[in-house]
């Protein structure tokens, strides 16, 4: 301090000038950096907007040609250049429903196992192993489904289904026809395995947000573990579990490679879930590079737009519900 007071004014001014230069450099760097981060954040918005706009623009020729009828007709005929999305939409929804029918009970079961039953030392490794299922690339599910799972279904499960469930009136229509191995059911089952980790890990996480005091109160009343799960934990964490289920549904709706391998790629709606069908994403993956003619390409892009809109809605609901759970956990 004393040194500074002894300095004559030009030096002090020089220090001031240096200081001012440094400060202004700091300010410039700061604003450049802040600007860069803001730009990147806006780029995320632009990209998502760009996806929507490009899909809308790309599907205009098909929309002009077929209008809303595109959504409700089943014809998919490249030879005559006539296209309708109903077969693909139907396949997408049915495979996803089958996947959910498998993954919801099993996924919640795993979450219950991991939070209530499993010895503490094993919780982490088992939880991680289940989550590895989500890490396996979807093409691997495809090749496994085609060469291992589908032949297994064809030789054992499907003949049994046809024999046992086929003769039942009305409901049995779902299980009729020859056991091809590949088809809607196979695709749905593989999707079920693929989305299982989404449901189980989200459910586990929201089960863990349940205040212990609530569970203790249940046990204090003499409830069994199952009763505590059913009457306390699951009602308390319902929003989060539904969020996880929707997240998994979004995944199942858009999953491409695994389905493309095993669904059989037939643009038609069959009553039986054992028969080949197609989904939106499988149709795009299979036909896009072979699509000759603008109308064909445009129809496939319109399929993509439909898929994008459906998954957007489902994922938006999922995120909204998970956000609500997060807020409560944070508060």
């Amino acid at each position: 301090m004393a040194d500074i007071t002894l300095q004559d004014r030009p030096v002090a001014r020089r220090i001031d000038a240096g200081r001012a230069a440094v400060l202004s450099r700091f300010r410039t760097v700061d604003s450049i950096f802040a600007g860069l981060t803001l730009g990147a954040a806006i780029l995320v918005l632009v990209l998502l907007g760009g996806v929507l706009v490009s899909l809308v623009v790309g599907s205009l020729p098909a929309f002009n040609a077929f209008g809303w009828r595109f959504l409700v007709t089943q014809t998919w005929n490249p030879n005559d250049d006539v296209y309708g999305a109903l077969g693909a939409i139907y396949g997408t929804i049915v495979t996803s429903l089958i996947a959910m029918a498998i993954a919801i009970p099993v996924g919640i079961g795993i979450a219950i196992f991991l939070t209530e039953l499993c010895p503490f030392g094993l919780r982490k490794p088992i939880g991680m192993a289940i989550e590895l299922l989500a890490g396996i690339p979807s093409i691997i599910y495809g090749i496994w489904g085609l060469f291992v799972f589908a032949p297994f279904l064809q030789s054992t499960v499907e003949p049994a289904l046809i024999a046992v469930l086929g003769p039942i009136p009305v409901f049995g229509a779902l299980f009729q026809g020859p056991p091809y191995g590949i088809g809607v059911l196979t695709a749905g089952l593989i999707l079920g395995i693929m989305v299982l980790p989404f449901i189980s890990s989200v459910s586990r996480d929201v089960f863990l947000t349940v205040p212990p005091v609530l569970k203790e109160a249940g046990y204090g009343l003499g409830c069994t573990t199952w009763e505590v799960m059913r009457n306390v934990v699951i009602p308390f964490s319902r929003t989060g579990v539904i969020g996880g289920v929707m997240l998994a549904l979004g995944r199942a709706l858009g999953e491409t490679m695994a389905v493309t391998f095993v669904i059989g790629n037939a643009h038609k709606i069959s009553a039986s879930i054992l028969l080949p069908g197609t989904t939106i994403s499988a149709a795009i993956a299979n036909e896009f590079t072979e699509a000759v003619g603008d109308l064909y390409t445009s129809s496939l892009i319109e399929l993509g737009l439909i898929l994008f809109v459906i998954t957007f809605i489902v994922l938006a609901i999922a995120r909204y519900m998970l956000l609500r759970i997060q807020r409560r956990a944070g508060a």
């Binding site: 300010r27 760097v29 760009g50 192993a129 590895l132 060469f147 994922l315």
Partner: protein
């Protein structure tokens, strides 16, 4: 009364048994898939896989051009996407933590995170491939970059939000400008988590197939020109597995084994890195 409690005990045992069974089912599925991969893939795991090009049906060959294309496009995708994701995540956690824009960006970023990757492929096809007039490795890398951005943005934001504010305040009190506080303090504290995000993004895109099908397409030959169609391991697996030729199918299995081993190692590394972070 005793019969009632017996009923409750029984239903408890049944449902807990079922949940035990569910966990067993999940693990069995994992083991079956990995076993099938090992069983079918290891037979073709010869040195020639890494030194020879993808063959025409009926002759010997390897996967060299596909592995090379995959590595190049994945790395390029990461190089393009990671900085953008990192900056976007920084905006959400540091500069715009309380702004309305952050809420919108976070929401749409989460949507992008789980959006079907084939849609991303269609977008890049519309924007890049039709403009350039041909399929190319660059288009493939751009599609992969779009998958990297949301993963990195999300993990960066989450990890930066875990950094205690007192650290930032201490640095600011020393007179450090905002950008230095972020670089030298917040990034340093969040580094393991951010690296986890990068590894997860890397794992995710190295197995991606759908967005490459009509951006990078495929290439049977050795090719280092990223302006040309480029082979990648997943698209080669797709093509070879669906072919009727036994030797192509064998190569597909071997490629599948290579990808899965890479991806699983990456995600295990990412998770163990992330867990040491949260354990501290």
């Amino acid at each position: 009364m005793p019969s009632y409690s017996k009923k409750r005990r029984t239903s408890n045992a049944v449902f807990l048994g079922l949940s035990f069974g569910a966990a067993a089912l999940g693990l069995v599925a994992l083991v079956f898939i990995l076993a099938a991969l090992l069983w079918n893939g290891i037979a073709g795991l010869k040195p020639s896989v890494f030194t020879e090009m993808t063959p025409p049906p009926g002759s010997a060959g390897g996967l060299l051009n596909a592995i090379y294309g995959s590595v190049v496009m994945t790395v390029l995708g990461l190089l393009i996407g990671a900085p953008i994701g990192l900056l976007a995540g920084t905006y959400m956690a540091e500069h715009g933590r309380y702004s309305k824009l952050t809420i919108v960006v976070r929401f749409l970023n989460d949507i992008l995170l789980s959006a079907p990757s084939i849609i991303i492929g269609l977008f890049v096809y519309e924007v890049v491939v039709t403009r350039l007039g041909h399929f190319s490795g660059v288009a493939g890398a751009l599609a992969l970059a779009m998958l990297v951005i949301p993963v990195v943005a999300r993990t960066t934001e989450d990890m930066l939000l875990l950094v205690p504010n007192t650290l930032r305040e201490a640095a600011s009190a020393m007179g450090l400008p905002r950008s230095h506080v972020v670089w030298k303090v917040a990034y340093a504290a969040a580094r393991p988590g951010i690296v986890t995000g990068l590894l997860l993004a890397f794992a995710r895109i190295s197995g991606e197939t759908a967005p490459l099908l009509f951006t990078a397409l495929n290439n049977q030959f050795w090719n280092t020109d990223l302006n040309q169609p480029t082979a990648s391991l997943p698209t080669v697996i797709f093509q070879f597995a669906l072919s009727p030729y036994k030797d192509w199918q064998q190569l597909a299995w071997t490629g599948a084994l290579i990808i899965t081993a890479t991806v699983l190692l990456l995600s295990i590394a990412a998770r163990s890195l992330g867990s040491t972070r949260t354990a501290k």
